[in-house]
Symmetry: D4
Amino acid sequence: MDNELKHLLEGVKSGEVSVEEAILKLKEKPFEDIGFAKVDTHRKIRQGTAEVIYGAGKTAEQIISIAETMLSHGQKSILITRLSSEAAVSVSRRFPLQYHEIARIGTIGALPPPDGVGQIVVATGGTSDMPVAEEAALTAEFLGNRVTRLYDVGVSGLHRLLAHLDDIMSARVIIAIAGMEGALASVIGGLVDCPVIAVPTSVGYGASFQGLAALLSMLNSCASGVSVVNIDNGFGAGYLANMINHLEAGK
Amino acid sequence: MDNELKHLLEGVKSGEVSVEEAILKLKEKPFEDIGFAKVDTHRKIRQGTAEVIYGAGKTAEQIISIAETMLSHGQKSILITRLSSEAAVSVSRRFPLQYHEIARIGTIGALPPPDGVGQIVVATGGTSDMPVAEEAALTAEFLGNRVTRLYDVGVSGLHRLLAHLDDIMSARVIIAIAGMEGALASVIGGLVDCPVIAVPTSVGYGASFQGLAALLSMLNSCASGVSVVNIDNGFGAGYLANMINHLEAGK
Amino acid sequence: MDNELKHLLEGVKSGEVSVEEAILKLKEKPFEDIGFAKVDTHRKIRQGTAEVIYGAGKTAEQIISIAETMLSHGQKSILITRLSSEAAVSVSRRFPLQYHEIARIGTIGALPPPDGVGQIVVATGGTSDMPVAEEAALTAEFLGNRVTRLYDVGVSGLHRLLAHLDDIMSARVIIAIAGMEGALASVIGGLVDCPVIAVPTSVGYGASFQGLAALLSMLNSCASGVSVVNIDNGFGAGYLANMINHLEAGK
Amino acid sequence: MDNELKHLLEGVKSGEVSVEEAILKLKEKPFEDIGFAKVDTHRKIRQGTAEVIYGAGKTAEQIISIAETMLSHGQKSILITRLSSEAAVSVSRRFPLQYHEIARIGTIGALPPPDGVGQIVVATGGTSDMPVAEEAALTAEFLGNRVTRLYDVGVSGLHRLLAHLDDIMSARVIIAIAGMEGALASVIGGLVDCPVIAVPTSVGYGASFQGLAALLSMLNSCASGVSVVNIDNGFGAGYLANMINHLEAGK
Amino acid sequence: MDNELKHLLEGVKSGEVSVEEAILKLKEKPFEDIGFAKVDTHRKIRQGTAEVIYGAGKTAEQIISIAETMLSHGQKSILITRLSSEAAVSVSRRFPLQYHEIARIGTIGALPPPDGVGQIVVATGGTSDMPVAEEAALTAEFLGNRVTRLYDVGVSGLHRLLAHLDDIMSARVIIAIAGMEGALASVIGGLVDCPVIAVPTSVGYGASFQGLAALLSMLNSCASGVSVVNIDNGFGAGYLANMINHLEAGK
Amino acid sequence: MDNELKHLLEGVKSGEVSVEEAILKLKEKPFEDIGFAKVDTHRKIRQGTAEVIYGAGKTAEQIISIAETMLSHGQKSILITRLSSEAAVSVSRRFPLQYHEIARIGTIGALPPPDGVGQIVVATGGTSDMPVAEEAALTAEFLGNRVTRLYDVGVSGLHRLLAHLDDIMSARVIIAIAGMEGALASVIGGLVDCPVIAVPTSVGYGASFQGLAALLSMLNSCASGVSVVNIDNGFGAGYLANMINHLEAGK
Amino acid sequence: MDNELKHLLEGVKSGEVSVEEAILKLKEKPFEDIGFAKVDTHRKIRQGTAEVIYGAGKTAEQIISIAETMLSHGQKSILITRLSSEAAVSVSRRFPLQYHEIARIGTIGALPPPDGVGQIVVATGGTSDMPVAEEAALTAEFLGNRVTRLYDVGVSGLHRLLAHLDDIMSARVIIAIAGMEGALASVIGGLVDCPVIAVPTSVGYGASFQGLAALLSMLNSCASGVSVVNIDNGFGAGYLANMINHLEAGK
Amino acid sequence: MDNELKHLLEGVKSGEVSVEEAILKLKEKPFEDIGFAKVDTHRKIRQGTAEVIYGAGKTAEQIISIAETMLSHGQKSILITRLSSEAAVSVSRRFPLQYHEIARIGTIGALPPPDGVGQIVVATGGTSDMPVAEEAALTAEFLGNRVTRLYDVGVSGLHRLLAHLDDIMSARVIIAIAGMEGALASVIGGLVDCPVIAVPTSVGYGASFQGLAALLSMLNSCASGVSVVNIDNGFGAGYLANMINHLEAGK
């Protein structure tokens, strides 16, 4: 903002820009500038490297059109979440699309080399939590993180989880994904000292009430360092994990 | 029922009882007989050894009056649950009452020697689950069971639970009591092969919703062999555990 | 674990195994050993006799692959729950599968001769509870239990239930299955002295809220000895009933 | 309405009342007349025999003032529901009040001789449902009905209920009151052919959720002829039962 | 029961029946006899005039088979509720079926001449409540009642309701059916002195939560004489209304 | 009403109408007159200009028939809400229908020139809230209002909202539409001094619970001047906004 | 903002203000200016005439301190909502406070003369809704509106409501307040053409669930022009009604 | 663990420890070692610097006893959360306790100098959220973090929030605390690129349902990087923020 603003004010000073014109310009765009401030810190992601399209509720045409704009602005990689297999077919006719069916994610362009500080562990209670887990894992990988997948390590078979204690303990941030009783987050949270992002899934039946049981269970975790995102929100967990994994000494 | 019935029918046959009288008698009491059938299998508990009074919502006077009737019928021990400390004072003026404050349980008479097949483990997630746990444990002890207490072995500190693996694995039936996220039942259920009775407690705050979170979590347990009783229902869990622990080869 | 461990330590003692190697080995697998401890008590079920595959959310290919592994390890019988009729067709092309359509259960191999202590009664409130009931009954039979089915004995027609009083009273454990108001568990629980496993079903409409009404009703049962599993969880009830019915004097 | 209206129109005809005046009068009060129509059918209750004051949220002074107005208009008996014992003391200083503590009901004046067609049975699942039951029973008695009380006949001790089968079967209308699992209404509804008014109570703990479990259970009753009123609404049930018990051949 | 019983006891007296045989017989069937007692009061409905089949969850074959049995036992009319149009086609191939599509009701045989004491009014808030209303109305007509239909008289257009005040006020019992806010029951309950059976419907969207809003609204009705049945339970309302409308002076 | 009434009374006065006839007439139609009173204030909308048909749950035939009646009574424009595209095809065969697919709205006849006092702003949190927003906007336009659309200005990208501060601040009434967290209403309500009508939408997944999260959020808005309509109720919001925007000095 | 901004830019132009200084100033306060824009439109309320303190959760000392600041800035009247009687005593020691106990509202200074366009009607279903109603009414009066109170006009006694039809129909905006079934808003909404602000109250018991039943009922109102505020939010309704009643032709 | 283990194995090797002894030791304590592994990473917190006691549900005596043990083990500072003012008085008699009344937190010993990487911002929607905010802030400070407090910056007065944009944008992690509608987390999450920990509070009334509205709102946040902890869980948020703020480059 500063440069643009400085330029404008210097124009006022020199008389090139009238006061009225300056008022108009200042009123017109201050909030874009706030946005710009944000975009600025987002630069690595938004400008030329990686960008995300939330595919749910968008037609293949809309997705293609957004992607085209992005690519024409120099974007090199695009992540499309909640992309149905039907829409994927249409999109892949227009771009070289990599489609990850389980995660319902499509990617255009190459994955960046991982530049996160440590590694992210994505753990699930059961195999049926995989779609959410893959959404989280692919999102994190797409944003430049090394990801270790530990699937089907639910607490009713504790030995499976404990067999991976080394992986769990060496993570910088862990995404714990579980439906049904959702206890995985608590158990992991009790084993480690790093942030644990809990993702309840809508997997289950009966009194799981589409993820409500897991959600409440995770919110009530007695383990410190556990926080929760929305039911099935693999993308949100992957994004937050990436954010934490890219926190640097400088800030 | 058979003897009484046989006697009646023989009376009809011999003419001592008229057909009309017999009809009347048969219509009058068949259901008491059904009840009696049940009382019969209840004999050990109900006749002379042990009996339970549910104290909630009863005045001290009502409790005293019921206890007097029981004792006058030969009852030797009485368990009073949900007994407030105020009522306990009144009751203890009339009978030699042992009052367990944490469990809000009063007992009259000696505990029976344990005659259950194995031992019952009562485990809790936290120390604040103790009132429910003691209600369960004392109920089971009062009904003739050996009880091992494992308190504060919640899943966010897994090592505490695992340190007692021997106790857990040698139990014939386990009562797993937890508020908050309620994951204890699943973890224990995954470690053992015996029935696990899960008791959600109303301990917690916020999104625990007075035990709802723990209840849903326990109902959704992925571990086989886990079933659930009502929130804070320590008595029910102790009673069911006793029932299972007294199942004999003969039936 | 002991043998393996003993062997390792003797290796250390004899110098065949270095201390460092031993540390590595001990760190690597202790939890598998815990699991093994469990497998051990599970031996009768897991080694060569009977094994269960939870079919929901698995493709026919995945099921076939798991079953193949099991059979190649000497498994003689396999129970597949929540198996869709479509998947059943695929699986039956590969193995001699018996498919129970109502229960959505497939079995490979012969049922074992019943070796449980007593008999299990499976009772339902209505005919529409049958899918859940059959899942429970077949699971119990598959695990070696004699099962008596009492269907459509709901409490709004009490005489149907009471007409089967003998069956009910001679059971070692009862599975009470009901949707709508779920009162069956309470009524049965009041008639018998054995454990009653209540299964709410999602049968019903309106304020049954997909089984919630029955679930709450069952959790609030005034009858002692009643515990509850998840809505529609016939398998869980059958498994727990089997567990209770196989409790022996020795433990 | 007719007489008043006729009088007015005759005034218009004769010229005593101007057209404008008549318009004004007709616009002013048509709805009071509708109200009057209702009061008319209410005559037996409202004019001189019996009247009800809902005491909740009213001060003793307000209750006294309303009662005074009623008595001064010729009312002979007054029923005051939800009357706290404190307010009862104040009210009894002013009027000869009969206070029924359990039901929190006060009555002024004598009960009418019963003139209902048949008898009303009030049944409860437990003794703690008595306050609601007495509110229902006293309301019905106050409105001129014979009432049979069957308390503590809950379904977990079926023999108690069946022992009173004659009472139950001879009722013209039954009020079934229960907290906890609320199954009483279904069981009674399955035994009889008369209307059953179900009243859930807030008695219970944990997953009874202040009467919600009983409410849902009763709404889902499989028995025909069962309908439900609000939780703890003893008055409403007594009033409706009275209404049904006074239905005559003529209407 | 008496006759059968008398006969049996006389057999005992005369020696034709041994005491043991009599015991066996008495144990075998007492509960059927209780059931019989009920069937007895049901006679008018069940024996030769009218019978009901709940069609939901039954195949056309099952319905046909039940109907055949009924007809072969002398049943003249049969009411089939929740009958899909597909099943109706199959059933109508076998019997002369009248199918009421909106109500999803099929009838076999002629309607009986109305023999209820008064008339039943079925009122709905909107036109979309018609399926439930027709289920109620047809059920009542099928059981021998005169029914007046007042559809689309919801409280947001009060004049429509008030225009039918005469119908409403001359009813012996009213069924008030509404989705959305469910206020119809309260308004009608405030206008009349006869029992009002409220039926919430699942009609609506958003915060109607499939009938929950209407259900709660109706349970909280301030009007006396209102009781509630399950969401969309037109049959239950029609059946209860019929019961009330057939109450006679004699009982 | 006055004219009709006056005429009647003058008839009575002159003797042309008998008192009895007058009574009958007065009793017959008072409520229609009340309705008429309302219709009167509705005149601009109902008589010849604009009328609304709620299309949900109506067949194309029913809609056509209602529209024909309206047009034959002089109606010039008709708005049909919740009109499926299939029904639209049928309706358009009969009338020149304009179909707005996103809003599922059909209009017959020309839009009126806007005659509201100010302008209505329709703002949405995301693009997926558009169907509800268009229903609101088209309803308002159809009733004679100028509408400014601000779509996708959700609070997680505040600069987009603030960039339109001028539009927001110049509105006479604002409709704030959002699913997910529903914060838009609060933020807008805090920025402006005009009434804000909040519309939660069922857009979202997981813990949005079909609009419940947005609904609760909006009801709890800390901003003054915010009120809420039902989930997805775009029509209701548009109608209320129109009402407020047409409030005149005179009343 | 423009003047300040213009001044600053002219300073830049003239050289009095350096570019760097200007950048700093522009970055520092843009959002205060936005706030100011709002305060501006709030002028009538905030500057010297009327101001509101939300008393809930504030100590008497905090309230006094806020009030002192307001008065010292020229405020003439202050409205304090949710003021406990204890706090009122303390506040009244410092200022001449008028305390309205039922509404828990305190006012300092004189009420302004009403300057709203029309009149606001505040209607309640029962007398126990009065605290919320008085909060609404006093808020509206305090902000300069004429208010008509119609209390206890609930829909179960329709004649009471209809007797006040003139008041209702002459309102510019109506606040409909009701607990229990909440139908008042729908009935009133169906009678009038002006905006209706519905306020559910927590009055009631059982299935009213502290206002939830009334809230859902009101959200589902079929009447157009009805919107809803939070349970018991009398202030919010009064404030919004005032806003609508002060809408002028000019905007 | 390694050292202890190595020592044991060397004992085995050397013959000092028998194989049987070693087996016993290895079976006895492996899980304590896991715990130890965790304690190890916790070292900075647990050994000598800072330790936390959760005071809720503990008596003053229990708290004193735990604190004494900690201090005797070399602990220098102790944080006691949820400490009632009564218990604080008792504890302060024994130790030099600093009691923070609003946060209900007591601290023994000096705060450590802040050693976190960046700063933590704690923002609240209203002043009544302060208890939760102070719990979070004091926890974070106690664990060695610089904390900036931004209270009462709720979204209904956006300018207050935006006025602190610099603070917000310079944070390494933000704790956003709000009751009522909970929109604060979304708005902040949209402004920054750092992790946002959302804490719903039980502040509010009516449809806030003790924090449920804020909880759902926060879970549905459209802003990336937002995760949620339990209602009122200030400690959990402070602890997690500390964890994130101490993440170092090395891991």
